[in-house]
Amino acid sequence: MSWLDKIKSKAGLGKKIPVAEEIWIECKGCNGQIYVAELEENFRVCPQCDHHFRLEAKQRVLQLLEPGTFVEHDNNLSATDPLKFKDSKKYKDRLRTASKKGMSSDAVFTGSGVLATHPVELCFFEFKYMGGSMGVVVGEKITRAIERTIKNNTALIIISCSGGARMQEGILSLMQMAKTSAALNKLSKAGLPYISILTDPTTGGVSASFAMLGDIILAEPGALIGFAGPRVIEQTIRQKLPDGFQRAEFLLEHGLIDQVVHRKDLKKTLNQILSLLGNTPVSPPADKTEQK
């Protein structure tokens, strides 16, 4: 190695270091260059403009739960493709490719853990798995998580990140909206808290079911949240959509969510809410039979 190479490598300019794209990333919010390590440290939020990059599912656990407390459940459920769906590619092949990439949990992870001092059931979506779409496995895992919350008398947190129902499972995926919402009714009657966190994006069948049914609904800044996707709306009404339409702040202004919460404050906020909801000095209402 020549003296020049030595200096280059010390300065991080040598051949052996990874290409620039891997160290620096352009922010979609401010177009500025961010040092990737810094971005990761900041929970993938741009240090300059607070643009929230999509978080990989597993990073949620690191951010929210106490180390070592997360126990994943139901990652042995897999889709059977009862419609034998095939578009340009077979659905079966899409599933196979995804699980080869090590994504065995379908589009949602569910499990138990502890947030600060609160035992919780946590569900969080993996957008990389078919756009976080909800098929039967997602519906079943969420429903089971709700049922576990009731059984364990804890609290439920769902972090949505999904384009909606999974077309490749047809009507079966649509019915997961009803299935999960029905289970949430039972949770509600049990008097246990459900906090729904909407991240970019939360649309379609996911937003029109459990995501909008939280006792408390929080959203990450700038997240796209809506029933119909912006392109569909544009095509339907044939006009351009206003700036900021369907963003988290827009939903807040329209009274549809409780708060927009910066990712760095998420854990603190959840802890605060769970503490406030859990601290109930007033005795529970007498049950219906006693009232009669």
């Binding site: 042995n76 459920l77 897999s78 889709a79 059977t80 493709d81 009862p82 419609l83 769906f85 095939k86 578009d87 340009s88 098929g135 039967v136 496995v137 519906g139 079943e140 429903t143 129902a165 077309m167 490749q168 499972e169 047809g170 009507i171 079966l172 995926s173 649509l174 019915m175 997961q176 909206m177 009803a178 299935k179 919402s181 029905a182 289970a183 949430l184 009714n185 039972k186 379609g204 069948g205 937003s207 029109a208 079911s209 459990f210 995501a211 909008m212 049914l213 949240i225 809506g226 029933f227 119909a228 569909v232 709306i233 339907t236 009404i237 206003p242 339409f245 329209h254 009274g255 549809l256």
Partner: protein
């Protein structure tokens, strides 16, 4: 003007020929007695209808389900109920004209009937927004269902919508929340709910009034997570691939029965509901009577328990547990 679907063309042509022949035989004695021929031709038409209508593809069924002459909710109300009184508004600033609802008599019993209404003439179509509801429609429906619950009145829901309306105002007013809320509440409305897909069952906008104890579907209706057009353009990148998309989606009545989504298929008169409004209404009324009877004797707690069980199981065939 009667709209004729591509695959109905031959049937209509033959029917016209028969009509001409009959009027000719009435006008000219020289034609002679052609009763025998006419009877034969009628038989042929029936055979053709039977062949065509028992072999419709998913896309053809979608076209029948969307046929502009197909009976809509208000037609069924006219033929199946008496004393209908329409009730309006969601009480939160919304009118909700894409969904109609009201109290009526079904046989001798009071019922609440709710259904999407597409609109027949251009102006009414626009007023009804082609059956694509704003949040107000779903909220009105829920308000009325709670009213029915209070007075212990069974609920009959008719589904016929391309989907929930995708628009700026719909989003501003919480389309997602409105649909979600109905799914959440309907599971525990403790009076019988009988749902029938009478035309197009378009995704969340259909399901928002689609939770019930018995789910029926008319023979040529469809029910799907997305329209064939939407599916084709997203998954095939080609909006003309509707035939393939409709097939892949498994959206026909027999598909839905096989997948455990619907409990019963209600037969339509030969040639489709769009040609026999009154007759299909009679068939549906019979089916509704039977299905109401099936659940009416259940105690409210039992009814809810069974409804929960029914929806808890949906999609069971879609996953397996691997070890």
């Amino acid at each position: 003007m009667v709209q004729i679907l591509e695959f109905e063309r031959e049937i209509f042509a033959l029917e016209n020929q028969i009509r001409e022949l009959v009027s000719l035989s009435h006008m000219y004695d020289s034609v002679g007695d052609i009763t025998h021929e006419i009877v034969g031709l009628h038989k042929k038409v029936r055979r053709m209808k039977h062949d065509v209508y028992s072999n419709l593809t998913g896309w053809q069924k979608t076209q029948v389900a969307r046929h502009p002459d197909r009976p809509y909710t208000l037609d069924y109300i006219k033929y199946m109920f008496t004393d209908f009184i329409e009730l309006h508004g969601d009480r939160h600033g919304g009118y909700g004209p894409s969904i109609v609802g009201g109290l009526a008599k079904f046989d001798e019993q009071s019922v609440l009937v709710i259904g999407h209404q597409k609109g027949r003439e251009t102006q009414e179509k626009i007023r009804r927004n082609f059956g694509m509801s704003q949040p107000a429609g779903y909220r009105k429906a829920l308000r009325l269902m709670k009213l029915a619950q209070k007075f212990r009145i069974p609920i009959i829901n008719l589904i016929d919508t391309p989907g929930a309306y995708p628009g700026i105002d719909a989003e501003e007013k919480g389309q997602s929340e409105a649909i979600a809320k109905n799914l959440f509440e309907m599971i525990e409305i403790d009076v019988p709910i009988i749902v029938t897909v009478i035309g197009e069952g378009g995704s969340g906008g259909a399901l928002a009034v689609g939770v019930g104890d018995r789910i029926l579907i008319l023979e040529h209706s469809v029910y799907s997570v997305i329209s064939p057009e939407g599916c084709a353009s997203i998954l095939w990148g080609d909006k003309d691939k509707v035939v393939q998309a409709a097939d892949a989606l498994n959206l026909t009545a027999p598909d839905l029965l096989r997948l455990g989504i619907v409990d019963e298929i209600v037969r339509e008169p030969l040639g489709g509901a769009h040609r026999h409004h009154k007759r299909v209404a009679i068939l549906l009324k019979k089916a509704l009577r039977k299905n109401l009877h099936l659940v009416s004797h259940l105690a409210p707690e039992k009814l809810i328990e069974k409804r929960h069980e029914k929806f808890r199981k949906l999609g069971e065939i879609g996953f397996e547990i691997t070890t």
